[in-house]
C-alpha cells in the first residue's frame, strides 16, 4: 500500500495573456511509506507544482484538469477545501524554498512553529512547545530552549531553514515536502541543514518528497529520483540507477552539465600578448554612512588585491557576504573604494565611473547576475544591444544593423530576435543578450557577476561554453565571480577565494583541492556536494570549526 499515489495528473494554467497551457501532462507516481522521493528538473519542469498537488494546493492561475492525487486514502483533487485543510500540516507538511520568506516577519518563531498544533487542536500548547524544543534539539539548532522566542530576522538563514523543517514536523506528518530547501543557502551551511533533515527523517520514519534542481544534493538524501521536464516524467529509478546508469538522454545531459568537462584545453597561444590587463591594488570599500575618517559604516572589502593577465580568466569565489560582488562593483567604478586603485592595462582608473573616459569604459564591461533586471523591459533586444554601438562607436545605418545581427549570431541567438522585448525571452536567452550588449563595446575585459547563478544547470553549461568560444575568438579576459565552484573550475585559470571581505588565497584552477592551504578554502571546497551517494555520510567536518568560520 502506497502512502501517496498520483495517477495521470493533468494541470492547466492561464497565462497573463489569457492563453491556456497545460503545465503537467499526465504524471503518475507512487510514494511508499518512509520513502524519500526526489523530483528533479529545471525551472518550469513542474516539480514544485506536482509537489504542491500532494497538498491539494495549486498556485494562483493554475487548476486541476484531470487525474487523481491520493494521499493516505484521500483524493486531494476532489476533496473540498475543509478536508484538504484538515490534511495539511498533519498528514502532509511543507518546507518552503526560502524559509526567510516563508516565516511571517511579525510573529515569533515559536508561535509559528506550534501553529499547526493550534490549528488542528493536536495537543495542548505547552506540550506543543516542549515538542518543538525537542525537534529544535534534533535539528541541532543552537539554544533550543530559547530560539523560539526570537523573530525571523534575528536568526541566520541556515537556522531559519531548520526552523521551517521543525514547523513541518510538529504535526507528525506522514509525508514531508521539501521544496528546494537548501538552494538559498551557502554550501558550508547546506551540509549542516542536509544532515539535520536526513537524520530527522530517518529517525521519524517519515516519507518525503524532495524537490530540487541539484542532482548532487538529491543524491545524498533520496531513495528514488524522478526526472521531470516540461511537465512530464522523463525517467525514474533508484538514486544509484539514475546516477550511474541513466537511460534517458535528458538525464544524461543533466549529469554531464553537472560535471563540465574540466577545462577544454584552451590554446595557450592566446596569451602571447601577456601582461596584466586588469589589476586591483589594496582595495578597501564598504557601504553605509561615512564617518569622520572617511570609512563607511560597513566595510565589505579589506585591502583586496588581484591581477588579471591578458587572455586568462580570474575566478572569484566565496559565500554570500564575502565581498565578491562588491569587488566587481569597485572595478566597474559603480562603488568608489575608500582606498586602493584599479588599473586597466597599466593605467589607473578613476574611482567613479562618471570620471572614467569613454575609451576606459569601453574596454571594461560588466554583465550582471539577474538578466531580467539588467535589461530595460520596454526596449527591444536590438535597441539594448545597439545602445553601446551608438555610444562607443557612433554606428548607424547599415553598419549598425549588420553589427547587431553579427552580435546576436555570436551569442547564438537568431537575428529576428532583435525585434522582441526582453519579456518574451527565456532566462538563458536574456543572459545571452546581456553578454551581447557587453560584447558590443569590443571590450578587453568582461566582469561576469554570478551570470550563471539564476540559470538552470544545462542552460548555464551552455553559457559557459559560449564564454569560452568567445574568448578564443575575441581575445577576451574574464573576471568570473561565482559562489559555484564547478562553474569557476570550468572556465577559470586562477581562482581567488574570498571570505568576509578578505582574500583567503589565490590558487591555480587545475587542482584546487590539492593546492588549498588555508583551512577555510579547504572547508569550502570539501562542502561542495558530489555526485556520489555516500558523500554526505562519509564527510567528516568539525561543526565547531564550520560555525567559527561562518562567524569569523
Amino acid at each position: 500500500m502506497n502512502l501517496a499515489e498520483i495517477r495521470d495528473l493533468h494541470l492547466g494554467a492561464v497565462t497573463d495573456s489569457g492563453r491556456k497551457v497545460e503545465i503537467i501532462k499526465g504524471v503518475s507516481l507512487d510514494i511508499a511509506p518512509g520513502e524519500i522521493v526526489a523530483l528533479i528538473g529545471e525551472s518550469g519542469s513542474g516539480k514544485t507544482t506536482i509537489a504542491l498537488s500532494l497538498m491539494g494546493h495549486v498556485r494562483q492561475g493554475c487548476h486541476f484538469e484531470s487525474g487523481s492525487v491520493t494521499v493516505d486514502g484521500t483524493d486531494m483533487v476532489t476533496a473540498n477545501e475543509t478536508a484538504r485543510a484538515r490534511m495539511r500540516g498533519t498528514t502532509v507538511a511543507y518546507v518552503p524554498q526560502s524559509a526567510a520568506a516563508g516565516f511571517n516577519p511579525a510573529k515569533k518563531l515559536m508561535d509559528q512553529v506550534v501553529e499547526v498544533a493550534k490549528i488542528h487542536s493536536l495537543m495542548p500548547l505547552d506540550q506543543a512547545r516542549a515538542k518543538a524544543v525537542d525537534i529544535f534539539r534534533a535539528l541541532a539548532l543552537p539554544d533550543p530552549e530559547n530560539i523560539g522566542d526570537r523573530y525571523p530576522h534575528q536568526v541566520s538563514g541556515g537556522q531559519l531553514q531548520r526552523l521551517a523543517a521543525a514547523m513541518a514536523l510538529i504535526g507528525d506528518p506522514k509525508l514531508v515536502i521539501f521544496d528546494e530547501p537548501t538552494t538559498a543557502l551557502d554550501v558550508t551551511t547546506q551540509i549542516e541543514v542536509l544532515r539535520a533533515f536526513k537524520s530527522v527523517m530517518k529517525n521519524g520514519g517519515m516519507a518525503g518528497v524532495y524537490v530540487s534542481h541539484d542532482l548532487a544534493v538529491v543524491a545524498q538524501i533520496a531513495d528514488r529520483i524522478i526526472v521531470l521536464k516540461g511537465g512530464e516524467i522523463q525517467e525514474q529509478g533508484s538514486a544509484t540507477q539514475i546516477l550511474e546508469a541513466a537511460g534517458h538522454p535528458y538525464t544524461r545531459s543533466l549529469l554531464s552539465a553537472f560535471k563540465p568537462d574540466a577545462r577544454v584545453a584552451r590554446a595557450q597561444d592566446v596569451d602571447q600578448l601577456g601582461g596584466i590587463v586588469l589589476a586591483a591594488d589594496q582595495i578597501t570599500a564598504g557601504y553605509g554612512p561615512v564617518d569622520r575618517h572617511g570609512r563607511p559604516h560597513k566595510i565589505a572589502l579589506h585591502q583586496v588585491s588581484c591581477n588579471l593577465e591578458r587572455g586568462r580568466n580570474l575566478g572569484v569565489i566565496g559565500e554570500s557576504g564575502s565581498g565578491k560582488s562588491t569587488l566587481a562593483r569597485c572595478m566597474a567604478g559603480l562603488l568608489p573604494p575608500v582606498s586602493g586603485t584599479v588599473s586597466l592595462g597599466g593605467n589607473d582608473l578613476a574611482p567613479q565611473v562618471q570620471r572614467r573616459s569613454k575609451e576606459e569604459l569601453r574596454r571594461l564591461q560588466i554583465v550582471f547576475q539577474l538578466a531580467d533586471t539588467a535589461l530595460n523591459p520596454a526596449q527591444s533586444i536590438g535597441d539594448s544591444i545597439g545602445r553601446p554601438l551608438r555610444f562607443y562607436h557612433c554606428m548607424k545605418g547599415g553598419a549598425y544593423d549588420a553589427r547587431i545581427a553579427e552580435l546576436l549570431d555570436m551569442v547564438r541567438l537568431p537575428g529576428a530576435m532583435r525585434h522582441r522585448l526582453p519579456g518574451e525571452l527565456s532566462g538563458g536567452q536574456k543572459q545571452r543578450v546581456n553578454l551581447a550588449r557587453a560584447l558590443a563595446a569590443n571590450p578587453e575585459v568582461i566582469l561576469c557577476d554570478e551570470i550563471t547563478s539564476a540559470l538552470d544547470t544545462v542552460v548555464a553549461a551552455a553559457v559557459i561554453d559560449l564564454l569560452k568560444e568567445l574568448q578564443r575568438d575575441l581575445n577576451l579576459s574574464y573576471v568570473f565571480i561565482s559562489h559555484d565552484l564547478s562553474t569557476v573550475e570550468a572556465i577559470c585559470d586562477d581562482v581567488m577565494v574570498m571570505h568576509h571581505g578578505r582574500v583567503v588565497e589565490t590558487l591555480p584552477a587545475a587542482g584546487l583541492h590539492q593546492a588549498a592551504r588555508d583551512p577555510y578554502s579547504k572547508l569550502l571546497f570539501a562542502s561542495v556536494p558530489k555526485l556520489d551517494i555516500g558523500w554526505l555520510d562519509r564527510l567528516t567536518q568539525d561543526p565547531d570549526f564550520t560555525a567559527a568560520m561562518a562567524a569569523r
Binding site: 494546493h57 507538511a93 511543507y94 518552503p96 511571517n104 511579525a106 510573529k107 501553529e115
Partner: protein, 317 residues
C-alpha cells in the same frame, strides 16, 4: 522597545514640529496677503484718517510683518491666539467652544466609520472576487464619486423632508434625551461616514490583498489554516502600517474638511467658524482655525507613523 525606536519616534515628532512652524509661517503670510486695510475695513467708509491711524497703532499693524509674526508665534506658544477683530473675544475662547463640537462630531464619526471600514475592507479581502466583494467595491467607487453636498442634501431630502424622521438642522432642537442627541447627530455622522469610509475600505482591502500574496501566507495555507486565520493572523499584522496611514489621512479630513457638512446641517463646528471668519475678514480667527486644522492633521499623521514603526518587529527588536 529600544533606543533605535525611540530615536525614530523622536525624529517623527521633530519633523512634525518643524512642519508646524513652516505651516504657521505660510498661514501668516497668506492672511497677510489678503487685500484691503483691516483698520479701514473695521471703521468703515466714514472713518477719519486719524482714527484709522490710531487703530492701526493700537492693533500693532504699523509694525513690520516679521515682528507681528514673531509676536503671534510667541502668543501661540502660550495659548494666546489673539483677539477676534469683530467681537473682541479671545480667539482661543471662540475656537474652544466650537472645537469641542467638531471633536464630538469627529469622534462619533470615527467610532462609526473605522470599525465599518476596517471590517468591510478585511471582509472584501477575504472573499476577494465574490459577489459581496464586487458589490461593496462598486458601492465604494460610487460613494467616492458622489460629492458630499450631494450625499448631505439627499440625506436631508429623504430623512427630514420625506420621511420626517430626523431634524434637518443638527442643533436648535431639544437635547434632553439621548434619543434626541442621537437624532441630532445621525445625519451629519451618516454623511461623513460615507465620505471618509470609502478611502479606508479601499486602502484596507488593497493592503490586505497585497500581503496575502506573501509566501508566509501561502505557508499558513499549507499548515491547514482557514482563510480567516490567514487574513487575520498572518496578513493583517503585516498590513497595519499602510492601513493606519490611510485611516489617519481619512480622519484628518474630519477636523478641517467638513465645511460643507457643517454648513448644510448648520452644525456649530470649527470649519463653520472659519467660513464666517473669512466672510468678516477676521484675520486672527482665520489664522487660529488654520493652525488648529494643521495641528490635528499633523497629530494624526504622526500617530500613524509611530504605529507603523511600532508594528515592525525588525525595529521593535
Amino acid at each position: 522597545m529600544n533606543s533605535k525606536v525611540l530615536s525614530l519616534i523622536a525624529g517623527r515628532i521633530g519633523v512634525a514640529l518643524v512642519t508646524l512652524l513652516i505651516v504657521s509661517f505660510l498661514v501668516f503670510a497668506a492672511t497677510e496677503m489678503l487685500p484691503g486695510d483691516v483698520a479701514q475695513v473695521l471703521l468703515g467708509q466714514a472713518a477719519t484718517p486719524e482714527a484709522v491711524a490710531g487703530l492701526r497703532e493700537a492693533m500693532h499693524l504699523d509694525q513690520p510683518a516679521i515682528m507681528r509674526f514673531l509676536g503671534w508665534l510667541g502668543g501661540m506658544a502660550h495659548g494666546d491666539l489673539g483677539h477676534s477683530y469683530t467681537n473682541r473675544m479671545a480667539v482661543s475662547e471662540l475656537i474652544g467652544t466650537r472645537l469641542g463640537n467638531t471633536m464630538k462630531l469627529a469622534a462619533i464619526t470615527a467610532a462609526v466609520a473605522v470599525p465599518v471600514a476596517l471590517s468591510l475592507g478585511i471582509l472584501t479581502a477575504i472573499w476577494r472576487g465574490s459577489l459581496f466583494d464586487r458589490a461593496v467595491s462598486t458601492l465604494v467607487v460610487g460613494v467616492i464619486s458622489i460629492p458630499e453636498f450631494m450625499v448631505a442634501t439627499l440625506a436631508v431630502l429623504i430623512f427630514a423632508v420625506w420621511l420626517g424622521w430626523l431634524p434637518a438642522l443638527s442643533f436648535g432642537g431639544s437635547t434632553d434625551s439621548i434619543w434626541d442627541i442621537l437624532r441630532a447627530y445621525a445625519m451629519p455622522v451618516i454623511t461623513l461616514t460615507f465620505v471618509v469610509s470609502a478611502q479606508m475600505i479601499r486602502m484596507t482591502r488593497a493592503a490586505v490583498i497585497e500581503t496575502m500574496k506573501a509566501p508566509y501566507v501561502e505557508m499558513a495555507l499549507l499548515k491547514g489554516a482557514s482563510r480567516s486565520r490567514m487574513v487575520l493572523r498572518h496578513a493583517l499584522p503585516n498590513a497595519i502600517g499602510p492601513i493606519v496611514n490611510a485611516m489617519a489621512l481619512s480622519l484628518s479630513y474630519l477636523l478641517g474638511g467638513v465645511i460643507i457638512v457643517e454648513t448644510i446641517f448648520s452644525y456649530p463646528g470649527v470649519a463653520k467658524l472659519m467660513v464666517d471668519a473669512v466672510a468678516t475678514r477676521d484675520l486672527p480667527l482665520i489664522q487660529g482655525c488654520a493652525m488648529i486644522f494643521c495641528l490635528g492633521y499633523l497629530f494624526l499623521i504622526t500617530i500613524a507613523d509611530v504605529v507603523a514603526i511600532l508594528s515592525n518587529p525588525r525595529l521593535r527588536h
